[in-house]
């Protein structure tokens, strides 16, 4: 059942990446703590640091710039309201913020699904802004390159299952139905793909 996933951490500057991630986590955590005390300057800085990633992901899910702006705004206001409740034990600041944003984007997709002609087929009209134009730092470019390489270590069907769920806003049962494959098969593809991606990207199990 377990795909061979060992030795997949194939990336060149992993120490550099690890250090950069740790630095960013620390920076975001400090900002969130200040935001939790109603610090407007910290909130502006947090926005500047994380808005491209939040907006970019939301845009990939919703594909409509107007809805994506609204959803990004709602996400940031939720971050503003609830920053004091952020608990580092439950995940990094980036993960917390992306989770809030993704949930909102998916809720929007699902509430708009009926009567919408949104095409959620994998690969069709995927909104893919040129990522290099917005990356603010070498670190982020390294991270982006790592992501691209790591996605390549997944099989086509694993990529497809994860992509349809995460960016298509589909449930795993809907993914199975769209692909015409069995539900357990889709679940396995997602699971194996995510395990592989996690190892490749060096997300440490705590």
């Amino acid at each position: 059942m377990d795909a061979p996933t060992d030795g997949l951490r194939c990336l060149l500057p992993s120490e550099q990446l690890d250090a950069a991630r740790a630095g960013e986590t620390k920076r975001l955590h400090t900002l969130l703590q200040r935001v939790g005390h109603a610090d407007q300057d910290a909130f502006a800085e947090l926005y500047d640091v994380s808005a491209p990633r939040i907006y970019g992901m939301v845009l990939k899910v919703l594909r409509d710039p107007g809805y994506s702006e609204e959803t990004t705004q709602e996400t940031f206001l939720q971050i503003w309201r609830t920053a004091a409740s952020y608990d580092p034990e439950r995940g990094s600041p980036l993960s917390w913020m992306m989770t809030l944003a993704h949930r909102r984007a998916v809720d929007r997709v699902r509430s708009a699904q009926s009567g919408s002609n949104r095409e959620s087929q994998y690969g069709s009209k995927t909104h893919n802004p040129a990522y290099d134009e917005v990356l603010e730092s070498v670190t982020q470019r390294l991270e982006a390159e790592a992501v691209v390489r790591c996605l390549d270590t997944l099989t086509q069907t694993q990529q497809e299952a994860v992509h349809m769920a995460y960016y298509g806003g589909l449930t795993y049962r809907e993914v199975a139905e769209k692909l015409g494959v069995a539900v357990p098969t889709v679940k396995s593809r997602m699971r194996d793909g995510l395990i592989r991606l996690k190892k490749c990207l060096g997300v440490e199990a705590r």
């Binding site: 407007q40 926005y47 970019g56 995510l194």
Partner: protein
């Protein structure tokens, strides 16, 4: 077909789609209810799996970043000035990450109802559309 009984193994396998926000609202409730009565080790394993998937997906955002229009920054910062902050506990209660903790009260009822229900509630009764594929692919 799939999980008629959500044992620990099945529960932990659902952590992956759950962390991707890829379960239906009904299934999410069932998972929450099941977690509420799970032993601490299972609950903590579920939490770790979920957390790792979310960390992984968060890293993916570096490859899809896109600059929002400048007006959004103005709107967000202006709105924050007018928006009161929640006290910490209220914020925690709304966090989607651990919403299931707050579903504990409904645990028993929901477990019975949801787990006894047909596995594909959204598509109605009748034969599953991929029965043939399923037979071929089940393993």
């Amino acid at each position: 077909m799939t999980e008629h009984v959500l044992d620990d193994t099945a529960l932990l396998r659902l952590a992956y789609p759950y962390a991707l926000d890829a379960v239906s609202a009904r299934e999410e409730s069932a998972i929450g209810a099941r977690l509420a009565v799970a032993d601490p080790a299972t609950r903590s394993a579920f939490r770790d799996l979920t957390r790792d998937v979310r960390e992984t997906m968060a890293l993916l955002s570096s490859a899809s970043s896109a600059t929002p229009p400048p007006r959004l920054r103005t709107r967000v910062l202006d709105a924050a000035v007018r928006t009161p902050q929640d006290p910490p506990s209220a914020g925690a209660a709304r966090s989607p990450r651990f919403r299931w903790l707050f579903l504990a009260a409904a645990a028993a009822v929901i477990t019975i109802v949801a787990l006894g229900a047909p596995p594909v509630p959204h598509y109605g009764p009748g034969p599953h559309p991929d029965t043939k594929t399923q037979l071929r692919d089940t393993w």
